[in-house]
Every structure is written in structure tokens, then in C-alpha cells.
């Protein structure tokens, strides 16, 4: 046998084995120990530490897709698309503040930090939101000059970490959002790994460069709802009672948390379900703590109605809002507005097939990329690397976000008109049915084709 023959045989053997990799008839994967679970166990065995990633909960839980609208029928007439009005405006925070927020659309941009996102990405969010007539929100890194400049309405978060917190930014903000928690990690603080603690980020946060920072998970100067009332009062005093005060909670005990937030004086409650995204946290947090957005909305609305505060304290819901249908459903269940995080950066280009080459270089692929904590995003969105961030065009990004917001509003209006509603806020639970027992029970709407609401009549406050 010549050397060529030997090499040829070796190559043939490799190709034969390669063609046998992956599924073929007779190979059965375990539902419990599937390939992803096996991979994670072996990663843990190699590294000795939990897996950290970005994005929100990826597992399937009951969500808005399990709800359907009842359009017009013999007993209900629709409104003409384009010809008859269906308004979309919303006022947030008129309970106490002398300057509540007037938004053109009931979709806001959720809090995402500079640090988690690049400067150009934050600028794009500001541009797009301003074009669409809505607000953006700062995140765990404080307020940047670019965001204040490009956002016509800016909500400033007060988080447990208090990175960059200062009274000048409080006064420059249009509203203040006290963060108790977020849906991805109720009970956890922010995480930003060393590779994203750039000079600028480190300075804004008063941290040494290159450390793996983990924010506090509790506020340093207040703990329970009675203290929160005093804290809200202080913030109002500092800002001369001008700004609406939001309280953001991750969805765990939405009924009680909403009631307590209202009693503490909140003007707006922001409720973030478990599908809510993050730039970085432990996988176990994302997938196993917090309840689905669908399960959280009705209890929160119940709390508002029980306190006679529905529509007087507004409810903003986030966590897996993806389309005008999701927006319409969350409004129909009683929310005043929806908020988007992951969807917003996807609109900017995150996980786009256009970056497939870049994804391949970091061992991932478009549609799967969630290692946002590493800061190597080829799209230049979830990175602090100047070269990568320079690839992202904030003006184009802003336009894309505005287009996406506009599309969602058109979709929601289409649905609302079909239900005969002249304002998105007129959508109501009676417009909805469910196609699963879980969704019917959670949303408290009947299973389609029946009058059955599982659990109706039993006390289910939580």
C-alpha cells in the first residue's frame, strides 16, 4: 500500500464516521438528559462555577401565544381600519407628579445599562424611542450624556448598586424608576464581567477596571415597603415633586408587590415577568426563579382594582413582549403599557443572520447567541469593545427601532379595531379566550369555545 492509499483509507474512515454523527434511526435522546443538559453538566465539571449568560428565559412557559382575540361578530361590530380612530396615547405618572409622562404609544423601552450595552446602542435606543414618541430607561450603570441627549423622554433608574447616582441626573430625568428587581433575576443584583468594565464604565461606577462586578441585590438604605414610602418621599423632595416615581418589580408575588408599591406611593408599577432579559446573570436564575409574565399580569391588575387605583396608578408590563399581538393582549388584561428590552435590541440587529460570520467566530450562531456577558458581540450592541461598537450605526439602529415600534402599534390597532375599540386601552379581558388550560387559569379568560375559567371563584391572590 502506498502512502496515498493509507491517507485515503484514513480519510474515508473519518468521512464514514462523520456521516454517522448526529441522529440516525435507532438513536434516542433523553428528554431529561438531552444534549444541552449533558453539555452543561460537563461544562460545570470543567469549570466549577455556574453558567452565566444573557437573554431571558428560553424554556417554553405559558405565554401570550396561548391567548386569542375574539374579533367582531354578529354581536360586536368592528371599526374601519384607517378610517376610524384607534388612539394609542398613554399618560404615565399623573398620580402625584406635576410633570407626568405623555407618550404617543403604549410601548416603552426597558432599562438596559450602559455597560451591558455599547454607547452607540444606547444612542440608537434613544433615537428610535424619540422618533416613535416614547421613553427609554437607564440601567445599572447610570445616565450617560448621549442617552439624555437622544431620548426625548428618559426614565432614570435607582438601583441597589446606586452606580453613578446623583441629584443632577435625578433632576434631568423625566421620571425615576426605583428598581426592586427584574424578571430575569428577582432577588439578584446586576452582573457585569471584567471584559466589559472598560475605563469609562469603571469610572462611571466608581469601580476598579477589569473586575467582575456583582451589584448588591438589596437597596442600601431601605428594605421593606414602609421604608420605601419614606424613600419615595425623599426622592420627591429632592426633585420638588415634579417627576413620576415608578417602582419596578420582578414577577414573583405580583398581587402583594403591586399593592405594597401603591401603598408606598408609587405612581407607576413596572412588572417584569420571568421571560425578561438580562445582559448577564446565572442561568439558574433566569430559568428557575420568577413567574411567567402571563401569570403576573392579572394579579397585578387585581391589586390595582382592589385598591381602586386601576388607571390611576399605571401598570407597565415587560418580559417577552415581541409583537403588536403581545402588546394588545397585555393591554387587554389591564396594563396601561408594555415595555420591551430583548425585542428592542433584536430590532437593532442582535442575533441577525447578517452577523453569522462573526457569530461563527465566537462559536455560536444567529438565533442562538446569548453570551452577551462576554462582550464580544459582532453586532456591536452588547459590547464595550470600541472596534466592535464602531460597527454599529446608531442612526440606522434608531430608524430600525422606530420602524419596529411603529409596526407593533399598527398591529395592536388592527386587533383593537377588529374588536371594535377606539383606543388601545379599551381592549378588555372579555375580548380574549385561551387555548390552553394553564393560560385560561392564569389570564382568567375562558378556554376557547367554552365558558370555563379554571379556578374562577377560588381565592388565588399571590
Amino acid at each position: 500500500m502506498t502512502e496515498f492509499d493509507t491517507l485515503g483509507k484514513a480519510r474515508d474512515e473519518r468521512e464514514r464516521r462523520a456521516s454517522q454523527r448526529g441522529w440516525r434511526p435507532g438513536l434516542r435522546e433523553s428528554a431529561l438528559f438531552d444534549r444541552n443538559v449533558i453539555h452543561e453538566i460537563q461544562r460545570a465539571a470543567r469549570e466549577g462555577i455556574y453558567d452565566i449568560r444573557g437573554f431571558g428565559a428560553k424554556r417554553a412557559v405559558p405565554h401570550f401565544d396561548d391567548l386569542l382575540f375574539l374579533g367582531a361578530s354578529m354581536s360586536r361590530y368592528p371599526l374601519e381600519g384607517y378610517r376610524e380612530r384607534c388612539d394609542t396615547d398613554v399618560v404615565l405618572g399623573d398620580r402625584h407628579a406635576s410633570r407626568p409622562l405623555h407618550l404617543d404609544i403604549p410601548i416603552t423601552i426597558a432599562g438596559m445599562s450602559f455597560g451591558a450595552l455599547s454607547g452607540p446602542a444606547k444612542e440608537a435606543l434613544g433615537r428610535g424611542a424619540s422618533q416613535a414618541g416614547t421613553s427609554t430607561t437607564t440601567g445599572d450603570g447610570g445616565m450617560t450624556a448621549e442617552e439624555r441627549e437622544h431620548s426625548s423622554v428618559l426614565v432614570y433608574q435607582l438601583l441597589p448598586s446606586r452606580y453613578g447616582m446623583n441629584p443632577d441626573d435625578l433632576r434631568r430625568a423625566d421620571a425615576i424608576e426605583i428598581v426592586v428587581g427584574q424578571g430575569a433575576k428577582p432577588g439578584g443584583g446586576g452582573v457585569l464581567l471584567g471584559q466589559k468594565i472598560s475605563d469609562r464604565v469603571a469610572e462611571m461606577r466608581d469601580l476598579p477596571k477589569g473586575i467582575d462586578q456583582r451589584s448588591a441585590c438589596r437597596h442600601p438604605d431601605w428594605t421593606g415597603p414602609d421604608d420605601l414610602e419614606i424613600k419615595i418621599h425623599e426622592l420627591r423632595e429632592i426633585t420638588d415633586w415634579e417627576k413620576p416615581i415608578f417602582v419596578k418589580i420582578g414577577a414573583t408575588r405580583p398581587y402583594f408587590d403591586t399593592a405594597l408599591a401603591v401603598k408606598a406611593g408609587a405612581d407607576v408599577v413596572v412588572l417584569d415577568g420571568m421571560q425578561g432579559g438580562t445582559a448577564a446573570t446565572q442561568e439558574v436564575f433566569i430559568e428557575h426563579v420568577g413567574i411567567p409574565t402571563l401569570a403576573a399580569v392579572r394579579p397585578a391588575v387585581d391589586a390595582l382594582q382592589d385598591l381602586d387605583m386601576h388607571r390611576r396608578v399605571q401598570l407597565v408590563v415587560s418580559g417577552g413582549i415581541r409583537s403588536g399581538a403581545d402588546v394588545a393582549k397585555v393591554l387587554a388584561l389591564g396594563a396601561d403599557a408594555a415595555s420591551i428590552g430583548v425585542a428592542a435590541i433584536v430590532a437593532l440587529g442582535d442575533n441577525s443572520p447578517a452577523h453569522e460570520e462573526g457569530y461563527a467566530e465566537i462559536a455560536t450562531s444567529a438565533g442562538y447567541y446569548d453570551d452577551w456577558h462576554e462582550g464580544r458581540d459582532p453586532a456591536g450592541i452588547s459590547t464595550q469593545d470600541d472596534d466592535l461598537a464602531a460597527r454599529f450605526d446608531p442612526e440606522l439602529g434608531g430608524r430600525r427601532l422606530a420602524n419596529y415600534l411603529h409596526t407593533m402599534v399598527l398591529e395592536a390597532q388592527t386587533i383593537a379595531r377588529a374588536c371594535g375599540k377606539s383606543h388601545l386601552h379599551n381592549l378588555e379581558p372579555e375580548d380574549l379566550v385561551a387555548v390552553s388550560v394553564e393560560a385560561a387559569a392564569m389570564a382568567r379568560v375562558p378556554l376557547a369555545g367554552t365558558s370555563w375559567i379554571p379556578g374562577a371563584g377560588t381565592a388565588v391572590n399571590s
Partner: protein
Amino acid sequence: MGTRARPGVRVGAGTGYVTVDLAETPLRELNAGLHAVDGDGPRRWRVLNPRGAHAVAAGIDAEIEVDVDGHVGYYCAGMNKRAVVRVHGNCGTGAAENIMSGAVVVDGNASQSAGATGRGGMLVIRGNAAARCGISMKGVDIVVRGSVGHVSGFMAQKGRLVICGDAGDALGDSIYEAQIYVRGKVAGLGADCIEKELDDRCRGELRELLERAGIDDCEPEDFRRYGSARRLYNFQVDDAGPD
């Protein structure tokens, strides 16, 4: 015990005192007045009968002096900029929280989270502070003539915490780059907090802080220094073999 604090803020030429009696005037009017002070505004204010009110003198941004006669509640002088606020009494939770500059001096005792997340300026407590003194501090200097409670200096990022008395349990837990000086006993150190050498530079720093705080009966030599071991700065990731 110690002289009256003179933290070195220049006070403008006298336009006399403004006195506000919180027994008769709503807090909102006091704070609105303090926020409205401009270049010509009154430089010296006196607040009577605070009776434990919250957010007294919160959010000032002016070079003025405010004397508060009595005890205050939570968040006195919260987010203070440039002003000198003196509390002639005790204060509740979060005194001088997030102070940016200027000074806050408390004659009596302070409750929990004194100086929380402070980013500049100085907080002086003549009496004792409670738990979590200096929690999450980001550049403020805090000087306590008495003792502090447990978990003081928790996640302290920047600035100096000087304790002339004793410190409670878990001092400096998860501390970053702030410096802690203690003269009395330390009940226990928190995660990643260790004792460090008190060298000439530290003694000089301490002397300057005590002087600014108006404390003249404590010697730098009698203090010990504590700071971060820096073992929690990065996640510990193993690499047990190839795939």
C-alpha cells in the same frame, strides 16, 4: 470632646439667618426654599423643631450652612451638594445618603446606613452610628467619633471610613478599594476584608481626616487599617481538562 467641625467650606458674606420652624411650616416649603437659593440667596439657615421629620434638607445644591436644632428622621441631607448641614441631635436611617460634596455633621447618634453610597464630601458623626455605616460608599469620607454597628463598610468602593470607637461584626464585607481605619475593637471582619499595614502615608491621611472632622483627641498611631484582599474581584473558573 473635639472641636466644632470646620470642613473648610467657604460661607459667603452674611445676609443673616433664615429661620424655619417645622412646627409651623411644611417641610416642602423648607426644602423648596433651600433648593431655590441662588447667588444672592441667604447663606445661613436654621431649622427648628424637626421632630424626627424625614428628608430634612435633602437635595441641597448651594454653598450654604444649615443648622438643624433637634432630631431628624430618615435621609437628612440626602444627596447633599456643597452645603454644610449640622444636625444638633440624632438622625435616622440614611443620613447624608449619596452625599456628593460639602459636609454633614451629626452631634448625636446616627441610625442605620449612615452615609450610604456617598460619593464625596464628608460625614461626621460625633456619637455612634448603627449597622451598615458607610454601606456601598463611593468616595465619601466618614468619620465617627463613637462606634459603628455590624456590616459597616459593606461593599465600600471608594473613600475613607474612620471609626474612633469600636466596629461591629462583618466589618468591610465585600469591600472594594475604600480604606477603613478603626481605633477600638473590631468584633469581626467580613468577607475579603483584611488588616493592612498602617504606614506613614496612612497616618498622614488619617491625621488630615481627623483634623477636618474637628477631632483632636485621637492619635493616628492608635488606629489599625483594613481593606480588600481582592480575592472576590473575579469569578474563580477552573479548567479541568479538554473536552
